[in-house]
């Protein structure tokens, strides 16, 4: 390895036409990912201008670096120093013999920092997905005309985080739009699933063909994609989601049915606990009836009197939506404060 020490140093040159490069500080997790033999696909996402302009006084500046499963908020940090990016070149100034030179090709006065962002995509999805609420056999809300694939890029979280929330809320694509089901809808579709399973002789906690049940549900006028979303949501862990088979997790399913039965009756304070338990049992496969106990939905219900049951205020769908949207607004506000602080530094 030769250096120019003998001749008194390494010549340092600056190109006249500096390039625009950005410097990104990498947290350890990301370095590890990038050093791997096959680095994952990365992308930079941002909120679309329209969605982010909820508060007109603040100009949203929101960019996120996403790996397949994690996301990091980008923050620009001004430095008082100049950071040159240099490149080795051969320089021949005048008629001298070309000498190896280090040449600055870009000058940066700011770096980008990454902060892990483990926020939930639930709030974002809640904002963009219309509620699919079947009342008297009809849904009275216009669709958003967006596919799942066109929604995820607008959410400032990784696809993995989006998918997790999507499945968690049993969102589905139907009739050219994406939706989230209301508790009432979930309850109705579940009853249809349960009836279909009974009619087809399907045991839901052993392997069955997803399509057998989903198609029977579709015949009753429910979106087949919603039936599939529910079946996937209730599937046991480690099931191949894209495979043709389903097998429901019994504990998860019993709790799901109880919870949404309760949620589907908002504002009712006179729901008799005994009546609720009976309905719950009736909505389950015969063999699962004895599982319908209040402890299966611990934390979801409260008992206003000794004979009635109600939904805990904090867990109702309506308040969840409100709090989630206000939460997203609050978090974006906080983000701007942070951004402002960073600027002042």
């Amino acid at each position: 390895m030769a250096t120019q020490q003998d001749e008194g140093g390494v010549p340092f040159a600056i190109v006249h036409d500096l390039q625009h490069l950005r410097l990104l500080e990498l947290p350890p997790d990301l370095v590890e990912l990038l050093d791997a033999p096959k680095p994952p696909r990365l992308s930079i996402k941002s909120l679309p201008a329209s969605a982010a302009s909820g508060t007109p006084t603040t100009k949203p500046a929101y960019a996120v670096l996403c790996t397949p499963s994690a996301s990091f908020q980008l923050r620009q940090v001004q430095t008082s120093n100049n950071l040159f990016v240099t490149r080795p070149t051969l320089e021949a100034h005048g008629n001298a013999i070309p000498v190896p030179t280090t040449c600055a090709i870009a000058s940066c006065s700011a770096t980008l920092e990454l902060q892990p962002s483990d926020g939930s995509a639930l709030a974002f999805l809640g904002d963009v997905l219309p509620l699919y609420d079947i009342v008297d056999g009809e849904v009275d809300v216009a669709g958003n005309g967006k596919s799942k694939a066109s929604i995820f890029p607008d959410i400032p979280l990784s696809d993995g985080q989006c998918e997790h929330a999507w499945q968690g809320m049993m969102a589905f694509e139907f009739a050219g739009s994406s939706w989230r089901p209301s508790p009432n809808t979930l309850s109705q579709v579940w009853k249809s699933i349960n009836a279909a399973a009974l009619a087809e002789g399907v045991k839901l906690d052993s392997q069955f063909l997803t399509d057998d049940v989903a198609n029977a549900v579709a015949e009753e006028g429910y979106p087949v994609t919603l039936a599939v979303a529910i079946l996937q949501h209730l599937a046991g862990d480690g099931q191949d989601e894209d495979g043709p088979w389903s097998c429901l997790d019994r504990t998860k399913t019993v709790s799901f049915v109880g919870r949404y039965l309760l949620e589907a009756r908002p504002g009712r304070s006179d729901y008799l606990t005994a009546e609720f338990l009976d309905t719950w049992k009736d909505c389950l496969p015969e063999a699962w009836r004895k599982d319908a106990e209040l402890k299966a939905i611990a934390g979801v219900y409260h008992l206003p009197t000794s004979t009635t049951i109600g939904l805990k205020a904090s867990s109702t769908m309506a308040t969840k939506n409100e709090s989630s949207s206000s939460k997203s607004a609050a978090s974006s506000r906080k983000w701007h404060e942070k951004f402002g602080r960073a600027r002042q530094r």
Binding site: H20, L21, S46
Partner: protein, 161 residues
């Protein structure tokens, strides 16, 4: 579309011989030099054939390339940056706490090769904009002190050597 791919790619091997100490080498040859202040140099003559201006030189007085002991990092403690004829900055080589990725706009073949990167706003993106990580750099040369005047670079070199 507000989602922009950020490509990672195998760094191209540098074609030019890298005159810096080997610790500062990266596959693409890119390195980071940080300094407090700005380097001013006369604007290039219109007739200039070169697209660069040599503004000074870097000297690693304690570095001996023949002693190829990678664990010997004492040489990192001192680097001189001579600027013009009469100024010198003293600095050092530092390992970065967090490695830094150098990012540039990828040429998507639409003829726009300006290389501008705009990530603060996340808005006003042209369709088809793509970014790539050109290199991950783990060391930098920092000059955090103010330049000091020197009268004769050749004489200083002799003293240090």
């Amino acid at each position: 579309m507000p989602s922009i791919p950020l490509h990672t790619r195998a760094s191209p091997q540098s074609v030019s011989e890298n005159p810096l100490p080997s610790l500062l080498h990266t596959p693409s040859g890119l390195a980071l030099v940080e300094l407090q202040g700005t380097i001013h140099f006369p604007p290039p003559a219109v007739s200039a054939t070169s697209s660069t201006t040599i503004v000074g030189k870097l000297v690693f007085p304690l570095y001996n390339p023949d002693l190829a002991d990678p664990s010997d990092t004492k040489w990192m403690k001192r680097v001189y940056f001579y600027i013009g004829e009469n100024q010198r900055m003293t600095g050092e080589c530092k390992r970065l706490g967090s490695p830094i990725a150098v990012i540039r706009k990828r040429d998507v073949g639409d003829g726009d090769t300006s290389g501008d990167v705009d990530m603060e706003s996340g808005q006003g993106k042209e369709a088809g904009e793509e970014l790539e990580i050109v290199e991950i750099v783990r060391y930098k040369v920092v000059f955090s002190l103010r330049p000091e005047p020197v009268s004769d670079i050749a004489a200083v070199d002799k003293d240090e050597g």
